[in-house]
């Protein structure tokens, strides 16, 4: 048996236009908990997908050794066969089925074609005991809380004789007590000789539980640290390693002079969709001023998108709070109300929620503003063409014609179409959710310029972004959200990546 149960060396994985993993090497010792940390988009998820066979052998370069033997996973099943189990943030349990059915899904106990329920139930009890779960194997998964569901997933991995357990943000959705319990279970299974790869943004947990920490940044391995040795890390060290990148991209910063308050949000609270006792947005208050760009930073799952979509009337159940535009309180019940009031929301999910992919550029561009050039519900088609042409040219959308279906456009051009669509509604407040995600540097720069032009015309912009350099490079002020609450506000002149990341991970501004 080698010292390292897992060795991944020189992994390179490219997507069209992006090098997601650039020569990443990563070793996990037998029986240790190894934390993998990095900013959003640093390459953690891609690395796990390579390890688990989601990205099959051949779609990346580099070597994977498990127990010293080279592996070439073609599919998830192959990685499971050598004992790798991945527990994703979105749990892969079937909620309508019982715990025992879930535990042995695909590996049912008994003779072929007939399940032996007695064996299955007694084995299930044993595995549930190993994760300190005192529930009946016959309980339905949907009746369990999220914390217990997580433990069922771990039990399922143990039942599959997993030797390498990968946990992707396991405690993101858990409360303090469930989190502490989960960490205990991890220590227990580590004692049983199972190795864990632990991905988390909660740095205090990383410090508490990890034997080793590897930091990824921009698809590269920064360093690996033995947490019991002399180069052990503390939280500030981890943060600086995570963000320690030079600001190589350029941002066309323009000095804005913020004017009067345009959008005023007070004590805004939204119920959690899965748990009516919890708030996904908890008592949030903020202002947006005339002619400024307000950046909204935070980690994935912090509630940024949920906050903006709920303001736009498109998310969740509001349980409290007020929204006022230019001093006038609004009662927004659906996106139609929001658009009429002068709000616009550019979604982070361009293909899923922003565009009708089978429609052409013209129909997408005008979809939210048809009213403006229709009389008695009849569209002035030639006016529609004229206006679309105007926006396509102003935004430099590269296309042979406005009759091109948007699914045939590149990501950057699609994003320009979405932006044009919302500019056409003549909003007073434009909310941009990850406006440059997945688009190339040139298109990014053009979008930044458009943002500045809009601000110059008096539009207020709220920009959610997971790319810290972008938030810091473009915003006048930065709100940092942590677990549904505002954990701090930074003026651009004082905002640094370290400060922002500290606030985003729940830390306190010093």
């Amino acid at each position: 048996m080698s010292e390292h149960i897992l060795e991944m060396s020189n992994i390179v994985k490219e997507f069209p236009g992006v090098r997601a993993l650039d020569d990443v090497s990563f070793q996990v010792k037998t029986g240790e908990i190894h934390a993998l940390v990095g900013e959003n988009g640093a390459g953690k998820s891609t690395l796990i997908k390579v390890l688990s066979g989601v990205h099959p052998n051949g779609s990346y370069s580099g070597r994977i050794l498990v127990d010293g033997a080279e592996q070439q996973f073609q599919q998830i099943r192959d990685s499971e066969d050598v004992g790798i189990a991945v527990i994703y943030q979105e749990l892969a349990l079937v909620p309508q089925m019982s715990v025992v059915e879930n535990l042995f899904l695909g590996v049912e106990r008994g003779k072929p074609y007939a399940i032996d329920w007695d064996t299955a139930n007694s084995e299930a009890k044993k595995y549930l005991h190993e994760v300190n779960l005192d529930i009946s194997p016959k309980a339905l998964v949907r009746n369990l809380g999220i914390g217990k569901q997580q433990l069922v997933e771990i039990a399922k991995a143990i039942a599959k004789k997993a030797r390498i357990l990968v946990l992707d943000e396991p405690t993101a959705a858990l409360n303090e007590q469930d989190s502490a319990n989960l960490l205990d279970i991890l220590r227990k299974i580590r004692a049983g000789g199972v190795s864990c790869i632990y991905i988390s943004h909660k740095l205090n947990e990383v410090i508490e539980i990890a034997d080793s920490v590897t930091v990824l940044r921009d698809g590269k391995t920064v360093s690996t640290h033995d947490m019991h040795g002399p180069d052990r890390l503390d939280e500030p060290r981890i943060v600086s390693l995570m963000v320690g990148r030079e600001l190589t991209e350029r941002f066309p910063r323009v000095e804005h002079t913020p004017g009067e308050v345009v959008l005023q949000v007070r004590n805004w609270s939204v119920q959690h969709p899965d748990d009516s006792n919890k708030m996904i947005i908890d008592n949030v208050s903020f202002d947006v001023r005339q002619g400024e760009i307000l950046g909204v930073a935070g980690l994935m799952g912090a509630g940024r998108t949920e906050l903006m979509m709920s303001l736009f009337g498109a998310y969740g159940k509001r349980v409290g709070g007020t929204l006022a535009l230019r001093g006038k309180e609004l009662d927004i019940r659906n996106p139609g109300d929001a658009i009429r009031a002068g709000l616009a929301y550019v979604t982070e999910d361009r293909k899923g929620k922003g565009l009708v992919l089978g429609m052409d550029i013209r129909h997408n561009t005008t979809l939210a503003a048809l009213r403006a050039f229709s009389k008695f519900a009849i569209i002035d088609l030639f006016e529609e063409i004229r206006i679309t042409e105007e926006y396509v040219q102003a935004l430099r959308v590269k296309t042979p014609s406005i009759e091109q279906k948007v699914k045939n456009l590149s990501g950057g051009n699609q994003q320009k179409v979405v932006l044009g669509k919302w500019m056409l509604t003549q909003p007073g407040v434009l909310i941009l959710d990850e406006p440059t995600r997945g688009i190339d540097v040139g298109a990014k720069f053009e979008i930044y310029k458009v943002m500045n032009e809009l601000v110059a015309k008096g539009v207020c912009i709220v920009m959610i972004s997971s790319e810290l350099p972008e938030v810091l490079g473009m915003s006048d002020r930065v709100l940092v959200i942590h677990q549904g609450k505002i954990n701090g506000e930074l003026h651009w002149s004082e905002a640094t990546q370290e400060k922002t990341m500290t606030l985003a991970t729940g830390g306190v501004e010093k």
Binding site: F312, A314, N334, P335, G336, A338, I339, R340, Y345, T347, D349, G352, K353, G354, L355, V356, L357, G358, M359, H363, L367, A368, L370, R371, S374, A377, I378, I379, L381, F382, I385, R386, E389, V392, Q393, R396, V397, K398, T399, P400, S401, E403, K421, V441, G442, F445
Partner: protein
């Protein structure tokens, strides 16, 4: 960072464009090819009877009540829903109309108005459950299929209700009158129909030329002149072929006049109105439509009210054609209608589909019914053939889409 031309308006070669056109519109061409093949096969198998003016005129009459339903079904399916109840609504509204006239002596105009109102009310009922109570359309209209079939039998007591007044019968059996030429009361040259045909074809040509000029003024790519002329000639020839059937037999039936008016209206609705645009957006991407401020519930509700009204219209035409209301009227019309819409290139997944395509699809289904009837294929085998055609049509749709993606 350099920027390429934002607009590439340079002309392409005719051949290249033809290829592009063929590739992009494969589905549309496929359904015309299917229609022509079916015509050729039945003409051969029936020793030419299928192509006789009398039979073709009959075929158009048989198409009308399915085509009326197909017009509404395009909106339903484009919007991401389905309607299984149309056959039963055709039966129920037709029975309602016959009872009003035969048992209560209402005049035809009143009957028509009341029946259309009934259809719309049925649409309100189904639309309410689908749009505002979020019960899937599949379930609501499956229930409607039972409810309205039951209502028909309860209303008529299972009896055949007949006969109808001549004015009513004309909706399904009558032809527009002749103007001057009165060669023969039954067959022969029909002057008014000829006039309508000429006006329609001329209007089409003028429209195409005007659209081309407008597109040119906006700098859009147009078909090269030879292809443009070829397209106009082919479409005009097809229009003339269809009209000539009627001009040379007994003239244009009233039901076909109704259908043509509906097609024009709904082509306009789908292309030129906010409602039409919203339906396509809802079916194409519900989330994007919602975030664009579209009132999805209200539009869905409208779709089903329209479908109910069109079902009633189809019920009137069908009852008038049979000159009677029967307990089995409209049975399996939903199958013919849905098949017509899919054959006509409407996507299973919503968001895509055309009115004209659905009309061609309805012609395909009616040709199958008509041709197999001429060949005395027994009804059980007719069902099997139609079932197979439906599977093939949808398979063709899904396979051509996935290879495009």
């Amino acid at each position: 960072m350099t920027h390429e031309m934002t607009h590439d308006k340079t002309g392409q070669s005719s051949l290249h464009m033809l290829q592009d056109q063929l590739q992009n519109n494969m589905r549309q061409y496929a359904m015309f090819i299917a229609l022509i093949s079916i015509g050729v096969i039945f003409t051969v198998l029936t020793n030419g009877v299928f192509m006789s003016p009398r039979n073709l005129s009959n075929l158009l009459l048989q198409t009308s009540f399915i085509a009326i339903l197909a017009v509404g079904m395009v909106l339903v399916i484009v919007g991401g829903h389905i309607d299984l109840s149309v056959g039963s609504i055709v039966g129920f509204t037709g029975g309602f109309a016959a009872v009003l006239q035969v048992n209560y002596g209402f005049n035809t105009v009143t009957v028509v108005i009341l029946t259309l109102v009934l259809g719309a009310v049925i649409g309100v009922w189904q639309g309410f459950w689908i749009a505002y109570r979020a019960v899937p359309a599949f379930i609501v209209t499956l229930a409607g299929m039972l409810i309205f079939r039951g209502a028909l039998i309860a209303l008529t007591g299972g009896q055949t209700i007949a006969p109808l007044a001549p004015g009513f019968r004309a909706i399904g059996q009558g032809y527009i009158p002749r103007l001057f030429v009165n060669v023969d009361a039954i067959a022969g040259f029909h002057d008014l129909s000829f006039l309508i045909a000429v006006v329609a074809i001329a209007a089409y040509v003028v429209l195409e030329i005007r659209v081309r000029a407008r597109r040119k003024s906006f700098g859009f790519t147009n078909l090269p002149i030879p292809l443009f002329i070829a397209k106009i000639v082919i479409v005009a020839a097809m229009m003339w072929f269809v009209f000539s059937i009627m001009v040379n037999y007994r003239g244009i039936p009233y039901s076909i006049m109704i259908l043509m008016a509906l097609v024009l209206l709904f082509v306009y609705i789908t292309n030129n109105t906010t409602f039409g645009r919203h339906v396509y957006a809802i079916g194409g991407n519900r989330e994007a439509a919602l975030l664009s401020g579209i009132n999805i519930k209200l539009k869905t509700f409208y779709i089903f009210v329209i479908m109910g009204g069109l079902s009633a219209l189809s019920g009137l035409v069908f009852t008038a054609r049979l000159n009677a209301a029967t307990a089995g009227a409209g049975n399996l019309f939903e199958l013919d209608t849905i098949a017509a819409v899919f054959i006509g290139g409407t996507s299973m997944r919503g968001g895509e589909g055309t009115i004209v395509g659905a009309i061609v699809g309805a012609l395909v289904m009616a040709s199958l019914n008509n041709g197999m009837g001429l060949m005395n294929v027994s009804s059980e085998y007719q069902l099997i053939v139609k079932g197979l055609i439906l599977v093939l049509a949808v398979w063709f749709d899904t396979s051509s889409r996935s290879s495009n993606a």
